[in-house]
Symmetry: D2
């Protein structure tokens, strides 16, 4: 018998990706699709869904979800997510939250976002980076799905944390496709702004920095100086991360990676610099690393909407329910 689940926030890109995965999943059944307003057909918002999955989008209602589902994916902006999650959890619905609301310690969250309205559940939330938090995820009713940047960055840097000179600044030069900026029509997402262009935004001040730092500290008990510079790219999807750090030990970077991620199905260690196209459409994180004397270059790529959001969310749900992690998870890329 399949698990009935809900998507709240079906209008956005990550909502669409969740739908695309869940309608083909053998154990989850998409029983409720909502956004904040309701009253429209899904295929009117996402025309590619025509004839594939024709449902009416409902106005999100926690009680209704509790009646019909036992699991909910929240693809909502931060702040909206937590009030919704709180109610769902009280009603006994498990939650995978794709927003920032349950990713950080209370103090870090309130410093970078806003007052937290659900600190009780925050304490029990598991951080949904499967390679590092499997057990927590398995035993939790609330999974905080990582941000796209933290996913690509943590997976790349964590294997090397024991070998870095932490007295020196670490630099993370990351580049994302425009879908990472969301569906909102603003100057940076206007075709004319970003086509034939590239630029950094929020350099050294982006809100994903504390998430990266906090998780490294939690997992490795180390406090690195992270300097994070995200860029916007003229592509729809995909994220490339290049990390620059100083080594404190003489290692073979590729060997470190291969050893560290042995047996991990969704990590691919590459023998040359990664590209983003090979991961587009999949849950893979491709990683490569190379050194020059004591200078280390770590390089990773993911699909920002999938491994950076929706497919990782379903992997987390698979873990919560004891299914095979890869069940229903896309592996075949959009290449060429």
């Amino acid at each position: 018998m399949s698990i009935k689940c809900a998507i709240v926030g079906a209008s956005g890109y990550t909502g669409l990706e969740l739908i695309k995965i869940l309608i083909g999943h053998s154990e989850f059944e998409l029983a409720y699709v909502a956004n904040s307003e309701g009253g429209i057909k899904l295929s009117e918002i996402h025309r590619s869904m025509q004839n594939i999955f024709e449902v009416d989008i409902e106005k999100a209602d926690a009680k209704e979800i509790a009646k019909r589902c036992e699991l909910a994916f929240l693809a909502l902006p931060h702040k909206s997510a937590m009030s919704f999650a709180k109610e769902l959890l009280e009603l006994g619905v498990k939650v995978v939250d794709l927003s920032a609301d349950y990713r950080l310690e209370l103090e870090t969250y309130e410093k970078n976002y806003c007052t937290h309205e659900d600190s009780k559940n925050l304490k029990n939330a598991a951080y949904g980076l499967p390679e590092y938090y499997r057990d927590d995820i398995k035993n939790s009713s609330l999974v905080a799905n990582p941000g796209c940047y933290p996913t690509a960055i943590l997976l790349a840097i964590l294997p090397f944390m024991d070998y870095l000179d932490l007295e020196q600044p670490i630099f993370i030069d990351a580049k994302t496709g425009v879908s990472g900026a969301g569906k909102k029509c603003v100057e940076n997402t206007h075709f004319v702004t970003i086509n034939e262009n590239i630029f950094a935004y929020s350099p050294l001040t982006h809100r994903h920095t504390p998430e990266i730092v906090e998780k490294i500290e939690k997992i490795k008990n180390l406090k690195p100086e992270i300097n994070f510079i995200p860029h916007l790219l003229p592509i729809t999807r995909g994220m490339l991360v290049s990390i620059y750090a100083k080594l404190s030990k003489d290692i073979e970077p590729l060997e470190v990676l291969k050893e560290h991620y042995k047996g991990e199905e969704f990590i691919r260690i590459e023998e040359r610099a990664v590209d983003v196209k090979s991961t587009s459409g999949t849950n893979f994180c491709n990683i490569f690393a190379l050194k020059n004397k004591n200078a280390l270059f770590i390089n990773s790529s993911i699909d920002n909407l999938l491994r950076g959001a929706s497919s990782q969310a379903v992997v987390n749900a698979n873990i919560m329910y004891g299914f095979k992690e890869s069940l229903g998870i896309p592996k075949i890329s959009y290449s060429p």
Copy 2:
């Protein structure tokens, strides 16, 4: 027990798409992967296949195929395809050929391509446009998969052939993504040539015109004046067709389409002009039509590599073996 099949021509884009479909197909088993030279790993040519499907590409050999497979997909250039198909058919292997070699009548072929070396099999080849040739395909050992342009054009124009003024020229303005030009590195596929650009090529003289004309004549017994103007677009995949013709009867174009394609799973009639992104990654053909007095505008889109080649080839194989037509065929698009 699954059907063992071969792909010959695995290096190109359509070869890759065939692989992507067949490795997920429940009834076909990809047992042989070859190109003209062999001696290389598949993931060295298609890096997105790393860890997904790791095989050695073999040097194509008909006898070896016959030993291990009962069905072969040929993703070869015209001329190479027919010599290979001939040998395979003699050895009892069924063939789905993606080249032009078995699409046309002998005379038309030789006028537009080269001397035909397998006229015997040519006579028995079925034209692999499922909506119009299901029975032929079912009973044939050799299916000639249609070209990408003819697929998108025939599916759009055939429902209207009885309502057009055939004394007047019909114009077909088609636009294709660069993957349609193949993997060869030439001036037109150089990024700098086509990025921020668009242009027609081979206007009024493109080699797909006789295929379109001949099939209309065969199916409808009508001889239209087709004027075909293909364009190259700065996108990787996708094809948009706009057909312009004069009506001889007063019809409701959308009603004609809906009636004509009732029950067809891979045709979507749209209520507004089609886009290409909604069909990218799928076997769908989206169609729309609109009139202004006696002027008719018919509009269709497909993924040139899938419905225009590889997924249609697997649909044909499904029909040949009596499987459900949609078995293993992609329907979820790459949007957003």
Copy 3:
């Protein structure tokens, strides 16, 4: 002594292109730059202007313009343009209007746009298509700069009007870059919507159709059945037009073009299908034509922001003041 001129509507793309041309023009001096709100530096809106042309954008004021300038370019939305033009003309300022407000006959305008508030000046406005209206432009105080689509279409179709079978529908398949949709952030200009995509919009109902029809009628005294299908392309600038019609006479299309445009400096007759990149950054209109029996394919390209708006506007100003038409007008394209 140079002619002092004003730009009203400096925030948009055509405003920027006007600035780029006028600051390098030897006879016009840009003495006033305004938008509807003022109070911002030009380089804050158009960062490429930094250190090049540093001025404060003023809040548009007709009286102030009249004090300081004798010519104004209006790059405003329709409706705003006519109230402004009216006041400027009363104050003795000459006007080149880039909006639709003075392009059409009163009746056509009111049917397609809104009530006209300046019908007096409308009667005296010259239509700013230099190749066909040189004398009118020379003697007018008010030039209505043509739309981008009508420019590319009229220049292509007019040479052939005497040779077409006007009983048959004429089809115009046009494609524009996203800058043609303006700077407004809406769904169609979102990068994710149009990247890797293409689609028709307003097929058979676009507002530029009456402008095309009315001008053909005025210039040639003929009434063709124009069916206009514009498409949006994933490029920033550039417009490609493909016109499909039936010939009534046996002509050599390229000869007709060469003869018709002999001596025209900004028309280039091509020997093969045109591309858009070759005209990007210039005032050129490239034209090609080819027939197949009685089927005619006419093909033109322009830079939608320059020949389709701003550089044509300055050519018109050059004519109004008796300067060489090409004075200060860009001819060197952005290729590669």
Copy 4:
């Protein structure tokens, strides 16, 4: 009386850009245009030049150049350039060489390229980075135009060299448009390879590294540990550089830049992260810098074909002949 000059290597992108600048230059007259084969019209290779500059491309011949010109721009591959330059210099023709042949010390050159065949002239070549080598350029008959990466990188990093902790590795993450890879049709320049993609190439081993290191050493007498990671971007032109280093002194990065480049006409100090579109079509180098404690982020952008090649070459020629540096040099960008 104008200076007659030659372009050798007119087929490539930098050749075209040289032509575009020189045909509008008031003091240089383009009297000779050649490539290695000759026998073709310029507008057949560069169709945007049609009606603009119609000449026959000649087969490059040093003696013929010496007869007709006193200055030659060489846009040739390395190795071809030096044999040609040697002959031209003997014949009394001044040379601006856009290849790598005269940029490096003999030993560095031979280690990274090939045996040098003109070591005599190598010693006297001036390095054509105007902001740092004005006097050398002025007094030289042979200017070695810098590479595109070294140009963007040196202009960004040199102002900070005195404030960096040189014990720590410096990382340079650079991204270039595809025109930087040249006109050759290879896998990396195929549209399908790079569209919707991005990847690093030659990380830590790119041949421009020694040029950067050697020039820093010459100008500042400092030996930094440069780690250079170039990336290929899905845009036609433009280059973005992000440099990451550790500060040894407490400085205000923007103040350092403003002070350092006071009065430099082709350097623009930005108050926020640079983009590439604002420099496209111009000779500008835009620079921005920001620190986070002792971590420094320096950010620059140029047009790789102009400031990274052809417009910088003409600036150098202006200096050689005592003209104003900005004479005929493009400043108006291709934005939007």
